[in-house]
């Protein structure tokens, strides 16, 4: 993450400092530098392309208005992704509540996902459905750890930085997430899809 080496003219800390002084070009460079990572993160959480694009824009708007609250040297990327994560979770909760209110299917990801599933095998499709359902049953933090770990490929330390938690806590959340998903799927299989 922040240990990546940037050329001087693209160092996030330098760009952030300039953007804070009102240099819009520097902020635009920050946007171009980080928008793929932000998009990937929010798409992992939201599983919906248009919602993710909206969330990216909202994230950078919040970053721009909150530049002065960033403490230089504390890791711009982690700070940025923390904001993105919060924006995405807010979107997720909103959409989830909306779906529940409409009494549609309880799993947001299975309902909302606009992403094309490459699975053709019915058993594989069934497992995919169960995993998505199990994901939607997790607590926010557990689900986020799972997504950051397996869809983003972040290390536990990086996840801890993004979530603002201790690494040990992240490991614990990760363990519990897998355990809960495993048990949910097992019960679902035993009861014919109704845990």
């Amino acid at each position: 993450m922040d240990h990546e080496r940037f050329p001087d003219h693209e160092d996030p800390e330098v760009l952030c400092r300039r953007a804070r002084r009102g240099d819009r070009d520097s902020f635009n460079r920050l946007v171009r530098l980080f928008q793929p990572k932000v998009f990937k993160l929010v798409l992992s959480i939201l599983r919906h392309r248009e919602d993710a694009l909206d969330a990216v824009q909202e994230t950078f708007m919040k970053v721009y208005s909150g530049l002065n609250s960033y403490q230089e040297g504390k890791g711009f990327e982690a700070w940025l992704l923390r904001i993105a994560k919060n924006v995405a979770i807010d979107h997720y909760r909103y959409e989830h509540a909306k779906r529940r209110w409409r009494r549609e299917k309880e799993s947001l990801s299975s309902v909302e996902s606009s992403l094309a599933s490459p699975a053709n095998d019915p058993a594989q499709k069934e497992m995919r459905h169960l995993v998505e359902k199990a994901l939607s049953r997790l607590a926010d933090k557990q689900r986020l750890v799972f997504l950051l770990r397996y869809l983003q490929g972040y290390s536990f330390e990086e996840i801890a930085a993004i979530m603002g938690l201790a690494t040990g806590t992240v490991k614990s959340l990760h363990f519990k997430a897998l355990e809960k998903m495993k048990m949910f799927i097992k019960e679902s299989l035993e009861t014919g899809g109704q845990p």
Partner: protein, 263 residues
Amino acid sequence: MKKKCAFGHRYLLAYFLQEIRGEKAQEMEIHLRTCPVCQQELAILQAIMATGEEMKKEIEMEMEKVDWDELSRAIDRKLEEKAGEAGASGWQWPLLLRWPVVAGLVTGIILGLMTYHFLFRPKGERLQASRTYQIPEALLDRCDEELARREVLDYLEKSRLILLSMKQAAEEASPEAVSLPKERIRDLLLRQKYFSSQLDSFRLAKARQILEEIDSLLLELALIEEKSTPEEATKLARLIDERRLLLKIQLLQQELEESEGTS
């Protein structure tokens, strides 16, 4: 098939995540060959990871479709809009700041006028205003009515005395002419004209008829010479009796006296 495995529950996930090594890992591998529960759970965990990989690929495919230039331009446009809004609201600040000044000025003017009105206005002006507005019209009417009532009472009393003296003179049947109090009669006639305008009020309306009778009699008396003949005196006494003027006067007096203070 048993549903739970205590050993698997304790070590399977750690084994899957490669958090246990050495002997415990080997023990788990041997256990897995014979435990269908752990085999099923391991298969589920592998399916979860496979699904995760699948989802990761889907995201990467979506990433390739995104027009990053357009996205950064959209963000830039939003920032421009926000800056424009902030600029617009910035121009409004001076106007907003003026409002308290205007409000303060208006309040000051109102307070100044009130202070002048209640504290510094000349006393004479205030007394004049109070004279004009503090006596109600109804009270003035009641004062006029009271004065009229007293006038009528006085008139009735004097008329009664004249009529009584006329009657007594006639009853005495004196052969000499009866002298008339001409001046008192004329005075009473004038006074009746003066207060007759007050008799329109509700409480004095009853007096009007009696007063008119008295007035006609007094008028007859006024037309007689200084001294009436015994026949004229008898005729007047008869009129007084026929019209029951003395009784009527007495009743009216009584009524007006009783109404004192209630009007």
